[in-house]
Amino acid sequence: MPETFQDFDAVVVGAGPAGSTAALVLARAGRRVALLERGPYPGSKNMYGGVVYGRVLDGLLPAWWDEVPAQRWVTRRSTMVLTPTQALSVDFRTQAWGSPPYNGCTTLRPDFDRWLAGKAEEAGAVLITSTTATGLLRQGTRTVGVRTDRPQGDLRAPVVVACDGVNSFLAKEAGLYHHPEPEHFTLGVKEVLGLPRHEVEKRFALQGDEGMDIEILGGTGPVPGGGFLYTNLDSIAVGVVLHLPALAASRRRPEDLIADLKAHPAIAPLVAGGDLKEFSAHLIPEGGYEAMPGVVADGLLVAGDAAGLCLAAGLWLEGVNFAIASGQAAAEAAIEALRSGDSSAAGLAGYRRRLEASFVLQDHKKLRRAPGLVLSERVQHQYPKALCDVVEALFTVDNPAPKRGALRAARAVGKNDGVRLRDLARDLYTMARTFG
């Protein structure tokens, strides 16, 4: 505990995965660190409908899988392409993901975030809940702490790590967001439906603590985006991710789009009879590498969603692992700066270098074309329909007519669905460059 309560070596704003990791690393280095959380407990304000890929914790918390509050370990992953009346699934299953060190797990964020923040507290971080950072304390252009919504609520520290989530007010106040355009964000909307555990296992062909992750393309009606369905222990999370400007223009309500997805013939049997336990919505920074804000300023580091570090690249939908890695990198850079007594932007520049040297920025850079490609009209609507039509044509037995063959069927469908070869070739080339 510091001599005067409001003085710390570092203040971390937001006890999500990025913030708690940063606080954990700082506290382990013997630094006095305050971890601010606006909710009554870590995870109370968070929403995530996905899979947490925990291998990034290997170095920080060895054998983390023994204690992480996992709901299910994902051993079955399915990518589903939908049209209003068709569904095409690529379903993959491996038992290798069902034992240590595992691949990914479904988890409930109130459990996961509380667990990780607990680790930070055990290491010596001071968790302050129900307290919102309302702004930065500045001396000129330099950040020297944060202002909170409590009386006499200023917290001073040479380094502030802003992990205050998507649409970060602190990063904006520091002038790090140059172009926070709506097109760089999606709206994630999720329902958690309660189902008996045996019913979850029966519907998704799971055993024990095995879990399933279904990613859906083409299930969001007129709005570009995607759908998802994840299995928890005795509930499922089903939802949609919607491109923000298109959602506004469509004048559709997100809950209607979830209802449409749940009514799809391929989805309805999976969610039937589910008891609505939770409904939530949250902005997601999906702009990718090109839309990222600055992450370093004098006395300030930005990590996690606040830095736009969410990978939404079609095949890969990841966020928590990027948040954890960025929180760790921010803390290591802060420790280095505190040691040298220089917490200016130059002193903290090691953060950006660490991000660039790790998967965090390398993946984002490699997949920088993905958001535009995945949300394009052709990938969202034209190709799913064409793909489903080709498969339908292949598997429809219309004797006495002889089988047409795959290429002939594809040509006919392409012509019928308006797929131009030139566009297809260009998109295939972009896909190869992006995902190859």
């Binding site: 505990m1 109370s44 509380r114 001071v126 009386p151």
Partner: protein
């Protein structure tokens, strides 16, 4: 003053009535917050110290630390299971709160609390009681005297003057708890909380079994098929049927209590 740690968002199984609570969403009720605020104002106006008490498991200390952050001076937790009865809770609290000028409580907690702990407490402490008050007036020149207002039927109000020792329970809407300062929050994290055990309590009567409301099934003859659907429903539910006229019974207190319990059993409120 007393605080109760209670889940603000419990899950209730609609079939069995089983309640599942979660420590993460548990905190003090609005009425307890109001009581804490009145307590802080009393100390500011009259001097003295504010002792905050709760009964429950270790996790319940969160409400004590919240009170300490807001300005309470001392905190004590009576180590009791969350399932303890109002009488047990009051007995545990009374032992530690004996000698207090004024004991403040919320009038009822969010978990369908009956508001009976303050009444038990007043009985245990042999103190005056003012239960369900909306507003308190505190005269700095008359420490220990509480002027309270509470609701009566028909929109009327009642004004009470309570002299110490007194137990006062307050509604949640009368005032709002101040926001604790950041320094207060940080100090409260490290503040000492006394833990006391509850005295053994001999139940004065066999405990009642309490469960979710289950009206007794009654067999009724099928309504005539000649009736409309609406009329058949009315016949089945007995809506238009004549009900027994109200009765005025004059009984001795014990007999009156037995009569009330019998009637509650008849209606299905008690098992």
């Amino acid at each position: 003053m007393c605080q109760k740690w209670v889940d603000h968002r419990p899950e209730v199984d609609p079939l069995t009535g089983a309640v599942t609570t979660d420590p993460r969403t548990s905190a003090a009720s609005a009425a307890d917050h109001a009581a804490l605020e009145w307590g802080l104002r009393m100390v500011e106006g009259w001097g003295g110290e504010l002792l905050v008490a709760t009964a429950g498991p270790a996790a319940a200390e969160v409400v004590l630390r919240e009170a300490l952050a807001a300005g309470a001076h001392h905190a004590v937790r009576i180590d009791l299971e969350a399932t303890a009865t109002s009488e047990e809770v009051a007995a545990g609290l009374a032992e530690r709160l004996a000698g207090a000028d004024v004991v403040l409580c919320g009038d009822w907690s969010l978990d369908r609390g009956s508001g009976s702990v303050p009444a038990f407490l007043a009985a245990q402490l042999a103190a005056a009681s003012g239960l369900g008050c909306t507003v308190l007036a505190l005269d700095p020149d008359r420490p220990g005297e509480v002027r309270a207002e509470r609701r009566l039927d028909g929109g009327r109000r009642e004004r009470l003057v309570l002299e110490s020792p007194a137990v006062v329970s307050v509604e949640g809407g009368g005032t709002r708890l101040r926001r604790a300062s950041l320094a207060g929050v940080l100090q409260a994290r490290e503040a000492a909380v006394e833990v006391a055990s509850a005295p053994p309590l001999t139940p004065s009567r066999p405990p009642l079994r309490i469960g979710p409301y289950r009206p007794r099934p009654r067999s009724r003859p099928a309504p005539s098929a000649e009736l409309t659907a609406r009329e058949r429903i009315l016949v089945l539910t007995g809506t238009p049927a004549d009900r027994p006229p109200p009765q005025l019974l004059v009984l001795e207190p014990a007999a009156a209590a037995d009569r009330i319990l019998d009637q509650l059993r008849t209606w299905g409120y008690l098992l």
